[in-house]
Symmetry: C2
Subunit: 217 residues, 2 copies
């Protein structure tokens, strides 16, 4: 998405750099695989290779969490994983809503990869909830009139936005007014939001286009 697009509207809670936070998530995934294979210790070199970064960068990133390695040996897999989780994880296990169940929205509902990471899509919304869709849905699909009530009922703080460009700003406004603090935006526009709201952008078409640019002719 990669890349994909990102935007963070305000200062981070702590002084951990934006990009480091991002990579910590990656490290955590690598550690989880190591743990599954019952590997107990890992060097910065090995872990960095698995995460696709340089060893020095990994070590620098980890210094933001404190000192955790054993010199001459490496890092304890379980301990390091817990360490990262405790920094990243306070906000996890969150309910999320998805707004806009067209092509992409349906696709995202179909995808179950959010759940293992602690995010549950509790409801989906669409202007035409009864429109025929080719896939069976696994969450309640509600009309837009139910948006505000559902958000407040479940104390929703995060939303996935997959509506068409034309509707994105208006829907964003409603989400923000109803208390949403973070939006994962798949719409191909950049919605205007207040300072306290964070928007991360994902645009698969741009990712492909970007990839194609970097191919040699």
């Amino acid at each position: 998405m990669s890349c994909i697009l990102r935007k963070v509207n305000r200062a981070a809670r702590s002084e951990i750099p934006r990009k480091t936070v991002y990579r910590l998530s990656q490290y955590l995934r690598c550690l989880q695989r190591l743990k599954a294979n019952e590997i107990q210790t890992v060097s910065s070199e090995a872990l960095a290779k698995a995460a696709g970064v340089k060893p020095t960068q990994l070590r620098k990133d980890l210094t933001y969490l404190g000192q955790f390695g054993t010199r001459g040996l490496g890092y304890d897999v379980v301990q390091l994983a817990e360490m990262i989780t405790s920094h990243l994880g306070t906000n996890r296990l969150q309910p999320v809503v998805l707004v806009g169940v067209g092509n992409l929205g349906s696709a995202l509902l179909q995808y179950r990869g959010f759940e293992p990471e602690g995010f549950e899509i509790v409801a989906a919304f669409d202007q035409m909830p009864d429109r025929h869709r080719e896939i069976p849905l696994r969450v309640p699909l509600l009309g837009m009139d139910r948006l505000e009530s559902t958000l407040s009922e479940h104390h929703i703080r995060m939303a996935i936005l997959s509506v068409p460009a034309a509707a994105a700003q208006e829907v964003t406004n409603r989400l923000v007014d109803a208390g949403v603090l973070g939006i994962l935006n798949f719409a191909p526009i950049v919605p205007v939001v207040p300072e306290h709201v964070v928007v991360n952008h994902v645009n698969l078409a741009i990712e492909l286009e970007n990839l194609s640019y970097f191919l040699n002719d």
Copy 2:
């Protein structure tokens, strides 16, 4: 994908910075909307706002393409769009394959958003092509044994990788050996590839996790 993850394995073809290339795609999308609304001229301030960047950054980015604005006036929408297209677009209208038709792969096949940007998924591959899937597929779904022949037949240069982590490296090797130069990777590992191959990463779970980190408690 914002983020989402990215990795570019080699020097860019020209001297346009990585991040600028990325933003040029965004500018192009904004220009296309302006064009659709029959707006003929746009200032760096207006276009930058639509793209979610600062005006000076937009102007600096455009510098890499040459001088195109009229001082005191702004940019010609059509002309600027063509300009950007001609820089980004040489590699577009490309056939792409998708490997790994599980949850996420199905979701991506369902999504038709690649096509307007000139990418066509010509075939999908899976280890179990006959496994029951909940959605109807719109492209041929073939077994992995057909991978190499299809790639060479269609002169495929780009692939979307959505296989499980355990299979990702092996599939990547086969893609690379069969001549694939660019991979949009949704698998939660970083595959090792030769220098000349470019991999862009997209990880939706990490995007959500990252978003959640930046919410205030």
